[in-house]
Symmetry: C2
Subunit: 184 residues, 2 copies
Amino acid sequence: MTILKEKKITSELVFDGKFLKVFSDIVMLPNGKKGRREWIDHPGAVCCIPIINNNKIIMVKQYRYPLKSQFFELPAGKLDAGESPSDCAIRELEEETGFKANKLTFLSTIHPAIGFANEKMWLCLAENLHQTQQNLDKDEFLETIILDLNEAIMMIWNQEITDVKTIIGLLWAERILKKRKISD
Amino acid sequence: MTILKEKKITSELVFDGKFLKVFSDIVMLPNGKKGRREWIDHPGAVCCIPIINNNKIIMVKQYRYPLKSQFFELPAGKLDAGESPSDCAIRELEEETGFKANKLTFLSTIHPAIGFANEKMWLCLAENLHQTQQNLDKDEFLETIILDLNEAIMMIWNQEITDVKTIIGLLWAERILKKRKISD
Protein backbone atom coordinates (compact mmCIF):
# COMPACT_ATOMS: atom_id res chain seq x y z
CA MET A 1 0.00 0.00 0.00
CA THR A 2 1.29 3.43 -0.96
CA ILE A 3 1.86 5.91 1.87
CA LEU A 4 -0.20 8.96 0.94
CA LYS A 5 -0.21 10.97 4.17
CA GLU A 6 0.91 14.60 4.28
CA LYS A 7 2.22 16.07 7.55
CA LYS A 8 1.73 19.67 8.67
CA ILE A 9 4.94 21.67 9.14
CA THR A 10 3.47 25.17 9.56
CA SER A 11 -0.03 26.62 9.41
CA GLU A 12 -0.98 30.27 8.86
CA LEU A 13 -4.44 31.88 9.08
CA VAL A 14 -4.31 34.04 5.95
CA PHE A 15 -7.90 35.32 5.95
CA ASP A 16 -10.19 35.49 8.98
CA GLY A 17 -13.51 36.68 7.57
CA LYS A 18 -17.04 36.89 8.85
CA PHE A 19 -17.87 33.46 7.37
CA LEU A 20 -14.65 32.05 5.94
CA LYS A 21 -11.39 31.13 7.66
CA VAL A 22 -8.63 30.43 5.16
CA PHE A 23 -5.36 28.69 6.08
CA SER A 24 -2.15 28.28 4.13
CA ASP A 25 -0.03 25.38 5.40
CA ILE A 26 3.39 24.05 4.50
CA VAL A 27 3.29 20.25 4.55
CA MET A 28 5.70 17.35 4.21
CA LEU A 29 4.63 15.36 1.14
CA PRO A 30 4.87 11.53 1.01
CA ASN A 31 8.13 11.84 -1.00
CA GLY A 32 9.78 13.92 1.75
CA LYS A 33 9.53 17.20 -0.20
CA LYS A 34 7.65 20.26 0.98
CA GLY A 35 4.36 21.43 -0.51
CA ARG A 36 1.71 24.08 0.11
CA ARG A 37 -1.93 23.38 0.99
CA GLU A 38 -4.51 26.18 1.13
CA TRP A 39 -7.79 25.23 2.80
CA ILE A 40 -11.01 26.54 4.33
CA ASP A 41 -11.86 25.74 7.94
CA HIS A 42 -15.61 24.96 8.04
CA PRO A 43 -17.75 24.36 11.17
CA GLY A 44 -19.66 21.46 9.56
CA ALA A 45 -23.26 21.44 8.37
CA VAL A 46 -26.45 19.42 8.23
CA CYS A 47 -28.81 18.78 5.35
CA CYS A 48 -32.40 17.64 6.04
CA ILE A 49 -34.62 15.60 3.76
CA PRO A 50 -38.03 16.59 5.16
CA ILE A 51 -40.66 14.06 4.07
CA ILE A 52 -44.45 14.34 4.36
CA ASN A 53 -46.56 11.17 3.90
CA ASN A 54 -43.66 9.16 2.51
CA ASN A 55 -43.77 10.98 -0.84
CA LYS A 56 -43.65 14.78 -0.58
CA ILE A 57 -40.39 16.67 0.01
CA ILE A 58 -40.08 20.15 1.46
CA MET A 59 -37.44 22.03 -0.50
CA VAL A 60 -36.21 25.61 -0.75
CA LYS A 61 -35.29 27.85 -3.64
CA GLN A 62 -32.40 30.12 -2.80
CA TYR A 63 -30.16 32.64 -4.59
CA ARG A 64 -26.53 31.64 -4.26
CA TYR A 65 -24.31 34.65 -4.67
CA PRO A 66 -21.03 32.85 -5.61
CA LEU A 67 -22.81 31.36 -8.65
CA LYS A 68 -25.15 34.30 -9.28
CA SER A 69 -28.19 32.06 -9.67
CA GLN A 70 -31.07 30.36 -7.89
CA PHE A 71 -30.91 26.73 -6.79
CA PHE A 72 -33.45 24.13 -5.71
CA GLU A 73 -32.10 22.78 -2.44
CA LEU A 74 -32.88 20.67 0.55
CA PRO A 75 -32.94 22.73 3.76
CA ALA A 76 -29.45 22.91 5.24
CA GLY A 77 -27.26 25.01 7.46
CA LYS A 78 -24.04 25.32 9.39
CA LEU A 79 -23.53 24.03 12.94
CA ASP A 80 -23.41 26.68 15.64
CA ALA A 81 -20.47 26.43 18.07
CA GLY A 82 -21.00 23.41 20.35
CA GLU A 83 -24.24 22.38 18.61
CA SER A 84 -24.92 18.70 17.83
CA PRO A 85 -25.83 17.73 14.25
CA SER A 86 -29.33 16.59 15.31
CA ASP A 87 -30.06 19.84 17.20
CA CYS A 88 -28.78 21.77 14.18
CA ALA A 89 -30.97 19.73 11.79
CA ILE A 90 -34.13 20.44 13.78
CA ARG A 91 -33.26 24.12 14.25
CA GLU A 92 -32.28 24.81 10.63
CA LEU A 93 -35.30 23.00 9.19
CA GLU A 94 -37.70 24.99 11.38
CA GLU A 95 -35.92 28.32 10.75
CA GLU A 96 -35.84 27.86 6.96
CA THR A 97 -39.21 26.22 6.30
CA GLY A 98 -41.39 26.63 9.41
CA PHE A 99 -41.66 22.85 9.86
CA LYS A 100 -40.57 21.13 13.06
CA ALA A 101 -39.49 17.49 12.85
CA ASN A 102 -40.38 15.00 15.58
CA LYS A 103 -38.46 12.15 13.99
CA LEU A 104 -34.90 12.40 12.67
CA THR A 105 -33.02 9.51 11.02
CA PHE A 106 -29.31 9.92 10.38
CA LEU A 107 -28.35 8.64 6.91
CA SER A 108 -24.69 9.45 6.28
CA THR A 109 -22.00 12.05 6.43
CA ILE A 110 -20.73 13.42 3.15
CA HIS A 111 -17.79 15.63 2.21
CA PRO A 112 -18.62 18.35 -0.35
CA ALA A 113 -15.25 19.93 -1.12
CA ILE A 114 -12.39 17.64 -0.05
CA GLY A 115 -9.89 19.44 -2.28
CA PHE A 116 -10.04 22.72 -0.40
CA ALA A 117 -12.32 22.55 2.68
CA ASN A 118 -12.72 20.38 5.78
CA GLU A 119 -16.52 20.59 5.57
CA LYS A 120 -18.38 17.54 6.84
CA MET A 121 -22.13 17.38 6.26
CA TRP A 122 -24.63 15.19 8.08
CA LEU A 123 -27.62 13.98 6.02
CA CYS A 124 -30.83 13.37 8.01
CA LEU A 125 -34.31 12.24 7.06
CA ALA A 126 -36.78 14.52 8.88
CA GLU A 127 -40.29 13.17 9.49
CA ASN A 128 -43.39 13.59 11.68
CA LEU A 129 -43.44 17.24 10.72
CA HIS A 130 -45.75 19.89 12.08
CA GLN A 131 -45.98 23.48 10.96
CA THR A 132 -44.69 26.21 13.29
CA GLN A 133 -43.09 29.43 12.03
CA GLN A 134 -40.30 30.26 9.59
CA ASN A 135 -37.53 32.34 11.18
CA LEU A 136 -34.87 33.30 8.64
CA ASP A 137 -31.51 34.91 9.39
CA LYS A 138 -31.54 38.61 8.61
CA ASP A 139 -29.46 38.08 5.44
CA GLU A 140 -31.27 34.91 4.32
CA PHE A 141 -33.98 34.92 1.65
CA LEU A 142 -35.67 31.83 0.30
CA GLU A 143 -38.86 30.34 -1.05
CA THR A 144 -40.29 27.07 0.31
CA ILE A 145 -41.57 24.52 -2.22
CA ILE A 146 -43.24 21.14 -1.69
CA LEU A 147 -42.50 18.59 -4.43
CA ASP A 148 -43.31 14.93 -5.07
CA LEU A 149 -40.18 12.90 -4.42
CA ASN A 150 -40.45 11.36 -7.92
CA GLU A 151 -40.71 14.80 -9.48
CA ALA A 152 -37.63 15.99 -7.55
CA ILE A 153 -35.68 12.87 -8.61
CA MET A 154 -36.55 13.58 -12.27
CA MET A 155 -35.20 17.12 -11.77
CA ILE A 156 -31.82 15.57 -10.92
CA TRP A 157 -31.68 13.54 -14.15
CA ASN A 158 -32.94 16.59 -16.11
CA GLN A 159 -30.13 18.70 -14.59
CA GLU A 160 -32.55 21.13 -12.94
CA ILE A 161 -31.19 20.14 -9.53
CA THR A 162 -27.38 20.43 -9.53
CA ASP A 163 -26.58 21.12 -5.87
CA VAL A 164 -24.66 18.10 -4.56
CA LYS A 165 -26.20 17.78 -1.06
CA THR A 166 -29.66 17.95 -2.62
CA ILE A 167 -28.90 15.29 -5.27
CA ILE A 168 -27.44 12.90 -2.69
CA GLY A 169 -30.14 13.58 -0.08
CA LEU A 170 -32.97 12.92 -2.56
CA LEU A 171 -31.41 9.73 -3.95
CA TRP A 172 -30.77 8.47 -0.42
CA ALA A 173 -34.38 9.20 0.59
CA GLU A 174 -35.66 7.39 -2.52
CA ARG A 175 -33.66 4.31 -1.52
CA ILE A 176 -34.90 4.34 2.09
CA LEU A 177 -38.53 4.77 1.07
CA LYS A 178 -38.29 1.92 -1.50
CA LYS A 179 -36.85 -0.34 1.20
CA ARG A 180 -39.69 0.56 3.55
CA LYS A 181 -42.28 -0.22 0.86
CA ILE A 182 -40.70 -3.65 0.28
CA SER A 183 -40.70 -4.46 4.00
CA ASP A 184 -44.32 -3.28 4.48
CA MET B 1 -42.59 34.56 -6.93
CA THR B 2 -40.22 35.98 -4.34
CA ILE B 3 -37.32 38.07 -5.62
CA LEU B 4 -34.22 36.44 -4.21
CA LYS B 5 -31.43 38.08 -6.22
CA GLU B 6 -28.50 39.83 -4.53
CA LYS B 7 -26.61 42.57 -6.38
CA LYS B 8 -22.88 43.23 -6.06
CA ILE B 9 -21.97 46.70 -4.70
CA THR B 10 -18.23 46.19 -4.12
CA SER B 11 -15.84 43.25 -4.46
CA GLU B 12 -12.43 42.86 -2.84
CA LEU B 13 -9.84 40.14 -3.44
CA VAL B 14 -8.87 39.41 0.18
CA PHE B 15 -6.58 36.43 -0.40
CA ASP B 16 -4.78 35.60 -3.64
CA GLY B 17 -3.10 32.28 -2.95
CA LYS B 18 -1.37 29.66 -5.04
CA PHE B 19 -4.64 27.69 -5.38
CA LEU B 20 -7.38 29.75 -3.72
CA LYS B 21 -8.72 33.18 -4.59
CA VAL B 22 -10.99 34.56 -1.87
CA PHE B 23 -13.29 37.53 -2.37
CA SER B 24 -15.28 39.57 0.12
CA ASP B 25 -18.18 41.43 -1.48
CA ILE B 26 -20.74 43.91 -0.21
CA VAL B 27 -24.11 43.12 -1.78
CA MET B 28 -27.58 44.62 -1.92
CA LEU B 29 -29.95 42.06 -0.38
CA PRO B 30 -33.52 41.52 -1.70
CA ASN B 31 -34.88 43.70 1.16
CA GLY B 32 -32.69 46.66 0.08
CA LYS B 33 -30.27 46.29 2.99
CA LYS B 34 -26.55 45.63 2.62
CA GLY B 35 -24.89 42.30 3.39
CA ARG B 36 -21.48 40.66 3.11
CA ARG B 37 -20.70 37.60 0.97
CA GLU B 38 -17.32 35.86 1.17
CA TRP B 39 -16.61 33.40 -1.62
CA ILE B 40 -13.97 31.36 -3.40
CA ASP B 41 -13.32 31.87 -7.11
CA HIS B 42 -12.80 28.41 -8.64
CA PRO B 43 -11.71 27.63 -12.25
CA GLY B 44 -14.19 24.72 -12.56
CA ALA B 45 -13.42 21.02 -12.63
CA VAL B 46 -14.25 17.71 -14.27
CA CYS B 47 -14.93 14.32 -12.75
CA CYS B 48 -14.63 11.16 -14.87
CA ILE B 49 -16.42 7.87 -14.38
CA PRO B 50 -14.01 5.55 -16.22
CA ILE B 51 -15.77 2.28 -17.08
CA ILE B 52 -14.23 -0.96 -18.36
CA ASN B 53 -16.53 -3.65 -19.85
CA ASN B 54 -19.69 -1.95 -18.57
CA ASN B 55 -19.04 -3.05 -14.98
CA LYS B 56 -15.58 -2.11 -13.66
CA ILE B 57 -14.74 1.40 -12.44
CA ILE B 58 -11.28 2.90 -12.20
CA MET B 59 -11.02 4.86 -8.98
CA VAL B 60 -8.28 6.51 -6.97
CA LYS B 61 -7.42 6.61 -3.29
CA GLN B 62 -6.06 9.97 -2.23
CA TYR B 63 -5.04 11.74 0.98
CA ARG B 64 -7.00 14.96 1.39
CA TYR B 65 -5.14 17.35 3.61
CA PRO B 66 -8.08 19.58 4.71
CA LEU B 67 -9.76 16.49 6.21
CA LYS B 68 -6.54 14.70 7.22
CA SER B 69 -7.72 11.40 5.76
CA GLN B 70 -7.81 9.19 2.67
CA PHE B 71 -10.78 9.10 0.32
CA PHE B 72 -11.98 6.76 -2.41
CA GLU B 73 -12.64 9.02 -5.37
CA LEU B 74 -13.39 9.11 -9.04
CA PRO B 75 -10.54 10.71 -11.03
CA ALA B 76 -11.05 14.48 -11.20
CA GLY B 77 -9.21 17.72 -11.63
CA LYS B 78 -9.38 21.45 -12.22
CA LEU B 79 -9.64 23.05 -15.64
CA ASP B 80 -6.47 24.72 -16.90
CA ALA B 81 -6.91 28.29 -18.23
CA GLY B 82 -8.76 28.16 -21.56
CA GLU B 83 -9.18 24.37 -21.44
CA SER B 84 -12.50 22.75 -22.43
CA PRO B 85 -14.16 20.33 -19.98
CA SER B 86 -13.74 17.40 -22.40
CA ASP B 87 -10.02 18.09 -22.96
CA CYS B 88 -9.62 18.42 -19.19
CA ALA B 89 -11.46 15.12 -18.59
CA ILE B 90 -9.21 13.20 -20.99
CA ARG B 91 -6.03 14.85 -19.67
CA GLU B 92 -6.83 14.40 -15.95
CA LEU B 93 -7.94 10.79 -16.35
CA GLU B 94 -4.72 9.87 -18.17
CA GLU B 95 -2.48 11.84 -15.75
CA GLU B 96 -4.07 10.32 -12.63
CA THR B 97 -4.66 6.73 -13.72
CA GLY B 98 -2.67 6.09 -16.90
CA PHE B 99 -5.83 5.31 -18.87
CA LYS B 100 -6.75 7.23 -22.02
CA ALA B 101 -10.44 7.45 -22.96
CA ASN B 102 -11.55 7.27 -26.59
CA LYS B 103 -15.21 7.85 -25.76
CA LEU B 104 -16.52 10.56 -23.46
CA THR B 105 -20.22 11.06 -22.60
CA PHE B 106 -21.23 14.22 -20.77
CA LEU B 107 -23.73 13.46 -17.97
CA SER B 108 -24.36 16.67 -16.02
CA THR B 109 -22.83 19.62 -14.30
CA ILE B 110 -23.00 19.71 -10.53
CA HIS B 111 -22.23 22.40 -7.95
CA PRO B 112 -20.29 21.14 -4.91
CA ALA B 113 -20.18 24.16 -2.58
CA ILE B 114 -22.83 26.71 -3.57
CA GLY B 115 -22.67 28.42 -0.16
CA PHE B 116 -19.12 29.65 -0.54
CA ALA B 117 -17.63 28.79 -3.96
CA ASN B 118 -18.51 29.26 -7.63
CA GLU B 119 -17.16 25.80 -8.52
CA LYS B 120 -18.94 24.06 -11.39
CA MET B 121 -18.06 20.44 -12.08
CA TRP B 122 -18.67 18.49 -15.28
CA LEU B 123 -19.42 14.77 -14.88
CA CYS B 124 -18.36 12.56 -17.80
CA LEU B 125 -18.55 8.85 -18.48
CA ALA B 126 -15.15 7.77 -19.89
CA GLU B 127 -15.06 4.60 -22.01
CA ASN B 128 -13.05 2.74 -24.65
CA LEU B 129 -10.03 3.02 -22.39
CA HIS B 130 -6.51 1.95 -23.20
CA GLN B 131 -3.55 1.97 -20.88
CA THR B 132 -0.81 4.57 -21.43
CA GLN B 133 1.21 6.10 -18.59
CA GLN B 134 0.32 7.80 -15.31
CA ASN B 135 1.80 11.30 -15.03
CA LEU B 136 1.04 12.88 -11.65
CA ASP B 137 1.63 16.50 -10.64
CA LYS B 138 4.75 16.86 -8.51
CA ASP B 139 2.66 17.36 -5.33
CA GLU B 140 0.04 14.71 -6.17
CA PHE B 141 0.11 11.20 -4.67
CA LEU B 142 -2.55 8.57 -5.23
CA GLU B 143 -3.27 4.90 -5.63
CA THR B 144 -5.33 3.53 -8.53
CA ILE B 145 -7.99 0.91 -7.72
CA ILE B 146 -10.33 -1.01 -10.03
CA LEU B 147 -13.68 -1.92 -8.45
CA ASP B 148 -16.89 -3.57 -9.59
CA LEU B 149 -19.52 -0.89 -10.03
CA ASN B 150 -21.89 -2.80 -7.69
CA GLU B 151 -19.18 -2.99 -5.05
CA ALA B 152 -18.51 0.75 -5.33
CA ILE B 153 -22.26 1.51 -5.05
CA MET B 154 -22.43 -0.59 -1.86
CA MET B 155 -19.54 1.48 -0.48
CA ILE B 156 -21.76 4.56 -0.82
CA TRP B 157 -24.59 3.03 1.22
CA ASN B 158 -22.04 1.71 3.77
CA GLN B 159 -20.58 5.21 4.12
CA GLU B 160 -17.13 4.14 2.93
CA ILE B 161 -17.44 6.54 -0.03
CA THR B 162 -18.38 10.00 1.24
CA ASP B 163 -16.92 12.33 -1.41
CA VAL B 164 -19.86 13.99 -3.18
CA LYS B 165 -18.60 13.94 -6.79
CA THR B 166 -17.82 10.24 -6.41
CA ILE B 167 -21.25 9.39 -4.95
CA ILE B 168 -23.08 11.27 -7.70
CA GLY B 169 -20.83 10.01 -10.51
CA LEU B 170 -21.25 6.36 -9.47
CA LEU B 171 -25.04 6.61 -9.06
CA TRP B 172 -25.33 8.35 -12.42
CA ALA B 173 -23.21 5.65 -14.10
CA GLU B 174 -25.36 2.93 -12.51
CA ARG B 175 -28.46 4.55 -13.99
CA ILE B 176 -26.95 4.87 -17.49
CA LEU B 177 -25.70 1.27 -17.51
CA LYS B 178 -29.11 -0.06 -16.36
CA LYS B 179 -30.79 1.88 -19.16
CA ARG B 180 -28.35 0.42 -21.70
CA LYS B 181 -29.04 -3.11 -20.45
CA ILE B 182 -32.79 -2.59 -20.83
CA SER B 183 -32.41 -1.26 -24.38
CA ASP B 184 -30.01 -4.10 -25.39
